[in-house]
């Protein structure tokens, strides 16, 4: 289907189904049950899953295929966000032009950063990209936020290009030449896709379950599917093969008459554009862009996502992004009271002890859990969650595997 092999088609269909039914899949627990806090099926979080999925898919095109570890990818995320914000401020609230500008601008940004950084490889490349990202952060945080029009003048450049530490926000006085500055009710208009507002949602109540279907999630989901499809095509293309060749043996590639630089630059720009798209989508869902989006921790997060899910695999980055965002949003919500509730069936002393022991790993300490899981995955499943999945499948379906062990199956970093 669509020029994909049978195996890739199957994977793509599974991802389509997962995106389409996520509101159900993520909400397995009835709303009034004690487990309801583990439900992730609310629009805000699901949007984050797919947006960071796009970010990680793009990052994987660079890191997974060429092996160049960029430690400054959040810079493109930030550029995409600011670009989309400016379209919302100047042009109108339709998300399509905003996303288009996010992609184009972050792509151009990637050409410049990539051209310089790709002169080196290995750790030096990582450090160069990190330096660029932190420079971008500094630019957004202070330099570009300097008052350009004087402090009290009403105007779009009041807080400079980036709005400094408070971030870039929509105001009632933004021109929005193709739209309206203010709605009839006197509010700031909401990002929309030809009239479908991002925060539109319908709720479906089935017995004890409540499922929310949000327009924003499905629009982001469709965009992620397109991004995922493009990444499959790149992985399977001659271009993708060249990128893999760069990762395995650059010396041989040079002695094969190929200059690897244009290939790595192309991969860098593509993955920068993915990051820009993710950044644009982030402000489409929540129109506010701050410089912290470019901070190095944000760059590190996408590295974690990709490694956790499985570097160089197609679906891995999406899984990794989902896992990390799930923990960030669900584990961090658990507080001491919740823990006391869980362990209330135990004798008093034991209850207190258990709460004290578990508490450091939840709530604000969720990073600790993430760290432990990350270490376990890297040590025991170097191929990430995808390798875990393959091992489980191997346990259950060994017979089936010999049957499908076709030539192409010999090398399967695919799923």
């Amino acid at each position: 289907m669509l020029g994909l092999s049978a195996k890739d088609t199957r994977l793509f269909l599974i991802v389509i189904a997962m995106v389409a039914f996520a509101p159900f899949l993520m909400n397995p627990f009835p709303t009034d049950s004690a487990m309801a806090q583990f439900n992730a099926g609310y629009p805000d979080l699901m949007q984050r899953f797919v947006i960071f999925g796009i970010f990680a898919i793009g990052f994987n095109i660079l890191f997974g295929l060429t092996g160049y570890l960029s430690f400054g990818h959040a810079a493109f995320l930030g550029v995409g966000s600011y670009a989309a914000m400016w379209v919302f401020k100047l042009l109108g609230m339709n998300v399509l032009p905003a996303l288009a500008l996010s992609i184009v601008l972050s792509g151009l940004f990637a050409v410049v950063i990539g051209y310089v950084s790709l002169r080196r490889s290995g750790i030096y490349f990582s450090i160069l990209t990190l330096a660029f990202a932190m420079m971008s952060y500094a630019l957004a945080y202070s330099v570009l936020a300097a008052d350009m029009d004087g402090p009290d003048q009403q105007g779009m450049l009041q807080k400079g290009l980036t709005g400094g530490e408070t971030g870039l926000q929509l105001t009632l006085s933004d021109p929005r030449v193709l739209g309206q500055s203010t709605t009839a009710e006197g509010n700031i208009p909401v990002p929309n896709l030809f009239g479908i507002e991002m925060r539109d949602a319908t709720e479906l109540v089935l017995g004890n379950w409540a499922f929310t279907f949000s327009a924003g999630y499905y629009i982001a989901g469709v965009i992620m599917l397109i991004a995922f499809y493009i990444s499959i095509r790149i992985f399977r293309s001659p271009f993708g093969l060249m990128l893999q060749a760069i990762k395995t043996n650059q010396t041989r590639l040079n002695y094969t008459g190929l200059n690897s630089r244009p290939y790595t630059l192309a991969a860098f720009v593509i993955s920068g554009m993915y990051a820009g798209l993710a950044g644009g989508l982030m402000v489409a869902m929540d129109p506010l862009a701050g410089p912290e989006r470019m901070f190095w921790t944000a760059s590190g997060e996408v590295v974690l996502m990709t490694i956790l899910g499985g570097v160089g695999t197609l679906i891995g980055p999406v899984l990794g992004a989902g896992a990390i965002k799930y923990m960030e949003n669900i584990l961090s919500k658990i507080n001491k009271d919740t823990l006391y509730e869980w362990f209330s069936f135990m004798p008093d002393g034991l209850e207190g002890l258990l709460v004290t022991m578990v508490y450091p790993f939840v709530g604000k300490g969720w990073h600790l859990t993430l760290g432990i899981i990350f270490m376990l995955v890297v040590i025991f499943l170097p191929g990430g969650l995808v390798e875990g999945g393959q091992r489980i499948r191997g346990l259950f379906g060994r017979k089936k595997k010999t049957e499908t062990d076709t030539p192409d199956g010999a090398k399967s970093p695919a799923e």
Binding site: P238, L241, T248, N249, Y255, T256, G257, P407, A410
Partner: protein, 252 residues
């Protein structure tokens, strides 16, 4: 005038004069071996030919074009391929993919961003790759992972990758280093077969005299960075200067 002309090449590493006044001419369609004891400058000379090192003095011309200052990939595009001492292959990929990459690159080496097509549907590239694998008797191994093969097979694969580009000059850096005798003989047979089938010039750097004397048409002996003698294998065998440099035998 040979296909490869090396004139007065000198290269210095700090206090070590690795090469000095190397003059060498490789005639077209011959197998030319460069031998010499360890540290004679064989590998340095080879690195000067492929653009990895730039000689301090002298000139290197291939078919009348200077190779100095060109990058390895540019030199390859002129028709010079190199086989390394330790096989340099794409270890993470399959044998078939290994051979398909030089097919995609072919001779011009231009940047082609074919991100739309699928590797699986490249008919002509596949045929080309399969033909060369057939040539080196590796067609049955085409779906194997390159990293899981024996050293002899890796060497074979590397040669296939070089040959598919139809180079005019093939540089071989100790092609049988670290191989068992049987593998060495296989490699010799393979090289002879390659030579018979196509117009190709080979320059071999080798330690193993067995290989050199069973293949080479001309031999240059390098010692301490300078060519000692250049002659046919038969004359080299009995040459007193060679025996001295090589075996440490005193001249009688």
């Amino acid at each position: 005038m040979g296909i490869l002309e090396i004139k007065n090449v000198g290269k210095r590493f700090g206090g070590l004069q690795a090469l000095s006044e190397v003059n060498l001419s490789v005639a077209e369609n011959t197998v030319h071996a460069i031998i010499g004891p360890n540290g004679a400058g064989k590998s340095t000379l080879l690195n000067c030919l492929v653009g990895k090192l730039i000689p301090d003095t002298g000139s290197v011309t291939f078919q009348g074009q200077s190779l100095l200052g060109r990058k390895p990939h540019e030199i390859n595009q002129l028709g010079v391929s190199r086989v390394f001492q330790t096989p340099e292959i794409f270890a993470d990929l399959t044998v078939m993919e290994n051979v398909m990459i030089p097919c995609f690159a072919h001779r011009d080496g231009a940047f082609k961003m074919n991100a739309i097509g699928s590797v699986a549907t490249q008919g002509d590239i596949k045929t080309q790759a399969e033909a060369i694998l057939e040539d080196v008797n590796m067609l049955d191994k085409r779906h194997m992972h390159a990293s899981s093969m024996s050293r002899g097979d890796k060497r074979r694969l590397e040669m296939a990758m070089c040959l598919v580009q139809e180079p005019k000059l093939l540089l071989l850096d100790e092609p049988t280093a670290g191989m068992a005798r049987a593998d060495t003989n296989n490699t010799i047979d393979l090289l002879k077969e390659i030579k018979e089938k196509r117009d190709i010039t080979m320059a071999i750097i080798e330690h193993d005299m067995h290989v050199v004397f069973s293949m080479a048409e001309r031999i240059t002996v390098l010692a301490q960075g300078t060519p000692l003698v250049e002659d046919t294998p038969d004359n080299i065998k009995g040459h007193p200067k060679v025996r001295e440099a090589y075996l440490g035998e005193a001249q009688v």
